[in-house]
């Protein structure tokens, strides 16, 4: 609630806690009125007129409130102008043989919309990390830091499309070879967390902290990068 000048504006101060649904309306009304009058007084002060609030000040304050909350569709002459500009370009020819015709990628929703987060653990070592090919889509960097006892935490933010590319230093596993280069620790450390099925191409089952296992799909490209 705005700190109105309780002495000069009448207010329903005794209803500070809404005790019934209709009080909420009253409180909202009071808030609006207080805001408008506060703004009006600010305008009156700024105009250096007499310190009393005039009708014009209140009108201006109300107008400000309206402009803040509502907009109207553009006026007709502006629309006609816009239309004239846009309609003067001829319709573009259609490129043949496109398959599914989509706008450029940045206007589509087909991008990968998650990335892997580094967990704030002390990193004992950089790895011979195998980084897969250029991150075509945002990199998924899985940091598997480890301490001997600690779990490896992999945070996977859910989603949609396929791409999992790997980034930098710490890590990850390329799937197509059942080769896990992780940190120095004994390979045994890794095993409980990662299961790479040698036969399956491109599937990692990563056990999350919550226990679920999420199949992640690695696209064909990674194979080339290796």
């Amino acid at each position: 609630m705005p700190q109105g000048d309780g002495a000069s504006w009448p207010h329903l101060g005794e209803l500070c806690a809404p005790q019934a649904p209709q009080h909420i309306n009253k409180l909202q009304e009071q808030r609006y009125v207080t805001q408008v009058l506060d703004d009006a007084r600010a305008f009156a002060n700024y105009a250096k007129k007499a310190k009393t609030v005039e009708v014009e000040d209140v009108k201006l304050a109300v107008q400000m409130q309206v402009d803040r909350s509502y907009t109207a569709p553009p006026p007709r002459d502006l629309l006609l102008d816009l239309a004239r500009t846009r309609n003067s370009n001829p319709l573009p020819a259609i490129k043949p043989q496109c398959g599914l015709r989509m706008p450029p990628d940045r206007y589509c929703l087909s991008a990968c919309n998650y990335k892997m987060k580094k967990t704030p653990r002390s990193v004992t070592r950089a790895s011979k990390a195998v980084t897969a090919g250029a991150a075509v889509k945002p990199a998924v960097s899985v940091v598997t830091t480890k301490s001997s006892s600690a779990q490896q935490t992999v945070t996977l933010v859910q989603k949609q499309h396929t791409v999992v590319t790997t980034g930098p230093p710490h890590k990850i596993v390329t799937v197509n070879r059942p080769l896990i280069k992780v940190t120095s620790g004994p390979p045994g450390d890794v095993v409980p967390k990662f299961q790479v099925s040698p036969g399956a191409v491109g599937v990692i089952h990563i056990k999350n902290e919550d226990g679920g296992s999420t199949p992640t799909v690695i696209p064909k490209r990674k194979r080339d990068a290796d």
Binding site: L82, A83, N87, N89, I94, R101, C108, L109, G202
Partner: protein, 717 residues
């Protein structure tokens, strides 16, 4: 001087009031340089605006003024007030005191808010400033309506069309000049002579009771920015002019000259029915110049399907075969038959046919063989899909062209897609499996879908407001939906995800349709525009601006060259996709237009509105209705033509589906040229049958390729 920010006054010595800006020529003590005041007591130029707030008809009261013999008696009180107001606004207190002392004018004057504060609108509204005597407005109007009543029947109805615009402009002038009482009285006494269908507009205008309210009112903006058009024949116009010549001093001639656009019609004056048939739109009728362009309403030439057809051809050729097959066969065999009304194939770029499209065409052809021919003796079978437990939420329904997918949008912002054939909705295989399939195989499009993922129903979520319209693309790969959140979304029906969000309309979008050839979309929204999009651009290609109120429904012509839009300003407009121009304005509906559809032959346009009537327009003509079908009792939400165009089906909020004989409408209409002097066909026998439902308003109608009618609506239990 105490006014440090107006340097022009800095050198003003208090005793010398003559250096005030625009009044530099006024030498107050001697008053000999006052520019001529006209008989109404107004200075013509710079001080005009301050006077408009004054009550101009108040009598002059010089008695309280101390006359200076050498000229003050000549000066009006109003002029004095104007000068003092000007001084007050410039904060010239001492000047004011001197002036008052010299002229003995001690009445308090308040600086009222004038039109300057209203900004641009104020300038436009200032056109309403008038000097007229308010008392005479009502008499003038009554005289006008008496004149109309007494006119010969031949002229009466055309001249009566001016009554409504004259009344509202009189009202607005009175309000602007502050004569609220007279204005209210005017409306009360005179609205009886106005037709009923103007009642809503009159009511919203009557809510405006002061000048401050006038700025920003959308209806007023419309009335001000566009002149009200009345069409009259020469005889009626001459008749009206004779009347006006007698009353040149009054407000009526002035209003008619400034605010009305009287369009001349060659020919006979129209009858009551004819005049009534075209009235209703916010800005009156459509001027003749708006409806002159030639429209290419023919269908595009069918592509080569010779090989496919030959496999399917049947030996017999009896007359029961649907017309489409014949025309297709003819078109194929002759292949040079040119419809003069058809647009050239490259008028707008259309996607070329892919193999899958050709297969689809073959399927269409096969279906057309088995199609039931509908006529007044063979009514369609109707299959009704009711949405149960969804009475407040289902807002929009669409069925794909091959009638296998039904998609509906709900007020809860969820889109739901159902399969209404035994085939299930499959999703695309995941990426690594896709790499395995053979891309050159015949049925790659089937193989790329994962059989195990087939479901009968899928939900699509993404909108942040009620989904106002849905449209399935002709190749069933994409779905377009529009929402009240101002976005249009394109969804892929293979990956079941949203692919593009089109954010051109910022205000609620009320309707979206795919073109019959795919690739193009048209949308209409609250911002009074309809826009043409393609699936591969994120900005609209065309903006169809011209409506005076929200665009509620849009539809493509079968040849994809034109778009029809129906709007809350009660008119239907036809737009050309190639250059965005409005080629037709159809007026005549008395309520918001809520449904539009083209006949399959492309020549006729049917539109239904909230006034429960369907109007049929001939695109070969010039904007006059061919037929008016009235039998419904509530808003008509959907219109559908049978596949050969002989039957029109309409569904409405009154929970019925009505079947109309469209063949009769076209055969009677084709003989004569529909122009301004023909009245629309209104024949009770056009209604073939009514199918009532039990409390289910009909939201959508769709004829399958074999002419079975599918209807759907939410059951309001």
């Amino acid at each position: 001087m105490d006014d440090s920010d107006s340097p022009t006054y800095a050198s003003l010595a208090p005793a010398n009031p003559t250096m005030v800006n625009d009044l530099a020529s006024v030498d107050l003590p001697s008053l000999s340089n006052i520019p001529d005041v006209n008989s109404n007591g107004h200075l013509p130029s710079a001080v005009q605006s301050p006077l408009s707030g004054q009550d101009v008809s108040s009598p002059q009261t010089p008695a309280s003024l101390d006359m200076k013999s050498d000229g003050y008696s000549d000066m009006d009180k109003s002029t004095m007030i104007a000068v003092i107001q000007f001084l007050k606004r410039g904060n010239l207190k001492s000047t004011e005191e001197i002036l008052r002392k010299e002229c003995g004018f001690f009445e308090p004057v308040d600086v009222t808010d004038t039109s300057g504060a209203l900004g641009e609108e104020g300038e436009v509204l200032a056109a309403y400033k008038s000097d007229g005597n308010p008392a005479e407005y009502q008499d003038a109007f009554k005289a006008l309506s008496a004149f109309v009543e007494k006119s010969l029947d031949a002229y009466k109805y055309e001249v009566a069309a001016v009554l409504y615009p004259v009344l509202i402009h009189m009202y607005l002038e009175l309000i602007y000049n502050g004569h609220r009482g007279e204005a209210v009285e005017l409306l009360q006494n005179c609205s009886s002579s106005i037709e009923a269908h103007h009642a809503d507009d009159l009511r919203s205008i009557s809510l405006v009771t002061s000048r401050a309210q006038m700025a920003g009112q959308p209806l007023l903006n419309t009335l001000l920015s566009a002149q009200y058009t009345c069409r009259m024949s020469r005889d009626s116009l001459a008749h009206l002019k004779r009347f006006l010549a007698d009353r040149s001093a009054g407000p009526v001639p002035r209003i008619i000259q400034d605010r009305l656009n009287i369009d001349l019609v060659d020919g006979q004056p129209r009858t009551k029915a004819q005049v009534l048939a075209v009235q209703g739109a916010i800005t009156g009728e459509a001027p003749r110049s708006a409806n002159k362009t030639k429209i290419f309403y023919g269908l595009l030439k069918e592509p080569e399907l010779q090989t496919v057809i030959n496999e399917e051809e049947e030996a017999e050729d009896d007359l029961d075969k649907p017309k489409k097959k014949k025309s297709k066969k003819d078109a194929l065999q002759k292949n040079k038959k040119n419809d003069p009304n058809a647009p050239p194939a490259n008028r707008i770029p259309l996607p070329e046919l892919r193999d899958q499209d050709k297969q689809e065409r073959a399927r269409i052809y096969r279906d057309s063989m088995k199609r039931v021919t509908l006529s007044r003796d063979a009514l369609p079978s109707i299959c009704f899909y009711s949405f149960v437990n969804a009475s407040n939420t289902v807002c929009s329904v669409d069925i794909s062209d091959d009638s296998s997918i039904l998609a509906f949008g709900s007020a809860e912002s969820i889109l739901s897609v159902h399969s209404i054939t035994p085939a299930k909705l499959k999703a695309m295989k995941p990426a690594e499996q896709l790499s395995d399939i053979d891309k050159d195989s015949e049925d790659v499009l089937v193989r790329m879908l994962d059989d195990r993922s087939g479901e009968t129903q899928r939900n699509l979520m993404g909108h942040s407001g009620p989904v106002t319209a849905v449209s399935v693309s002709p190749d069933k790969a994409l779905l377009a939906s529009s929402g009240q959140d101002g976005t249009v979304r394109i969804w892929s029906l293979q990956t079941w995800t949203c692919v593009v969000v089109l954010r051109g309309h910022i205000y609620p979008v009320w309707s979206v349709r795919f073109s019959p050839h795919g690739y193009y979309l048209v949308t209409g929204g609250h911002d009074r525009t309809a826009r043409l999009w393609t699936t591969d651009q994120h900005l609209p290609l065309r903006i169809f601006a011209g409506h005076y109120s929200d665009v509620d429904v849009v539809e493509f012509h079968p040849n994809s060259n034109y778009v029809a839009s129906g709007s809350s300003d009660r008119s239907v407009r036809l737009w050309d996709c190639s250059n965005g121009a409005c080629v037709r304005i159809f007026t005549g509906h008395k309520g918001t237009v809520s449904a539009v559809n083209f006949s399959p032959c492309g020549r006729y346009l049917a539109s239904g509105s909230c006034d429960a009537r369907i109007l049929v327009w001939d695109l070969g003509g010039h904007g006059n209705a061919l037929a008016a079908l009235s039998s419904h009792s509530d808003t008509i939400h959907t219109l559908a033509f049978s596949r050969e165009g002989t039957i029109l089906a309409s569904g409405s909020m009154d929970c019925t589906v009505k079947i109309w004989d469209f063949a009769k409408v076209t055969e009677e209409g084709r003989d004569e040229d529909v122009n301004a002097t023909t009245s629309p066909l209104e024949d009770k026998s056009l209604l073939l049958s009514t199918f009532p439902t039990k409390q289910t308003p009909v939201l959508s109608l769709h004829f399958t390729r074999r002419n079975v009618l599918l209807a759907s609506g939410p059951f309001n239990g």
